[in-house]
Assembly symmetry: C2
Homo-oligomer: 269 residues x 2
DNA sequence: GCGGGACGTTCCATATAGAGGAAAGCATAT
DNA sequence: ATATGCTTTCCTCTATATGGAACGTCCCGC
């Protein structure tokens, strides 16, 4: 039985035996939510649900009727599908969600594993805003504080936030960040560099302030597949060396994927 | 015990989304969904949930933990909020939903109450596509069939679909529909008319084909607040007279509101 | 026409899942 | 320090949810 898009989303980060921790005394609810999970894969008939989930037809029927009566499911020609109530909840959840809160535990984990400072930030128009920081175990710390705003084109976090943009936008933002004082060759180089980042899905950035700060940044995607925030690790280039880089990039990307999953991203469609 | 249940009035054919119906044997699920409904209004603490919903703190706690473990809820500084799972479900529901199927029962109701033909249609670029029709009880029927496509600016349904557009767009589409053969005065008149429709949230349209067909159309909004389809009633101007119009418009608007609600719209924000 | 299979629905006796009281932790306010 | 309010755990008892059985309906093949 190809079970495929079941994703386990970490919630609090500090559960020793995460696994299948079950809140007891909620069989009915859990079964109903199992049904929702099956329906995610597309319309399905009640009898199939009963089989797949190992419950009696009666129970499947009862739960499905209950969910339908609340508009969590709707009836279609070929079985039950996700219902209109979820549209409402989805939109409201989009408004209520606090990306930083979701990302926090993952940031701590990443920081713990790598020892580096971890940041998340979001895009504000042509700017990149630092939202949260977890300081690593290293003596050397990157000073950027939550709240800081920098031109989106010239930070690692910012570049990650731009990966979905078209090249013309990269160019425009780069020129604006440099206040127009750029040569065509520099623009060329910048765009080429961004192209490389995009291909790898990961940004390696050396600070242009000459302070020797280097960072690896990766975008995080929301339920709609759009980049909503980005995560990065940063340190002195002295620590974040070229030979460490592949392994670290791998870890940052994995963290980003986990966070993306936790905010509802379900892969490119 | 042995309670005799003689409540068996509702045939399955016409379930109104009133919410009064109760599927028995699902207390736990229903309570959990009640919790979701409360959380919709914003973050809320477990104890408040218990009070509002008339359940023990223990029960509220258990359900809330269960919902959290499935990511239907998330914990915030000031209580429980909608969780990331809903982002995923919301997006998927958006893809799966069949507006016509949702609208159908409401169309039938409206047709039954008014006696007129009822239509729904959606916008396809600069065109309006008729999606579904429910023929009324009147001898005279409007011939427009599902599948028909007309310039969006020159049907009642189409105009309703345009109510959110800026005036420049109204003008452009009107001119295009008329193949450019319009005087500035006509454009002025058209835009003024649309302004009136927008103000009332309802379109009164007399066919420009000279066949004496008149319609009342109202837009339907999706969970994001955007106009996704529109509903209309149509008949000969002879039947759809000026004195009937206010009452009919009222009924069409109410239907549109109900359908909007059924597809997740929750009012202007 | 008839019989068999699949699905949705209703009924009912029963076991068990879930409700809630009581009380222990944990904060933040007075 | 004491108090107030929230979360969390434990435990008992019954209201609740469960699944087998049976019925209605549709569709297919014979």
């Amino acid at each position: 039985m190809g079970r495929q898009n079941r994703q386990k989303i970490m919630q609090d980060g500090d559960d020793k035996k995460d696994g299948a921790e079950t809140v007891k005394g909620t069989q009915t609810l859990m079964r109903a939510l199992d049904i929702m999970d099956e329906v995610i894969d597309g319309p399905i008939r009640a009898a199939d649900l009963a089989r797949k989930l190992g419950m009696s037809k009666t129970t499947a029927h009862r739960l499905v009727q209950a969910l339908k009566s609340r508009n969590y499911l709707s009836v279609t020609r070929d079985g039950f599908a996700l219902g209109p109530k979820l549209l409402q909840l989805g939109v409201l959840a989009t408004e209520q969600i606090d990306y930083v809160r979701v990302a926090r535990p993952f940031m701590e984990l990443l920081s713990e594993r790598t020892g580096f400072c971890v940041f998340v930030g979001k895009r504000e128009g042509d700017w990149s805003r630092h939202l949260e920081r977890v300081t690593g175990t290293q003596r050397l710390r990157v000073a950027t504080a939550p709240g800081d705003r920098r031109p989106v084109a010239e930070t690692g976090l910012g570049k990650a936030l731009l990966l979905d943009e078209v090249e013309a936008t990269w160019e425009r933002l780069y020129v604006e960040a440099k206040d127009g004082k750029v040569t065509p060759a520099q623009i060329q180089a910048y765009v080429a560099e961004m192209r490389g980042h995009k291909a790898r899905g990961e940004v390696l950035h050396d600070s242009e302030l000459g302070d020797g700060v280097r960072s690896i940044a990766v975008p995080i995607r929301d339920a709609k597949g759009q980049i909503c925030i980005a995560i990065s690790i940063a340190s002195a280039a002295h620590y974040l060396t070229d030979d460490l880089r592949p392994g670290l990039a791998e870890q940052v990307m994995r963290s980003a994927e986990l966070i993306s999953g936790a905010v509802g991203y379900s892969g490119p469609r």
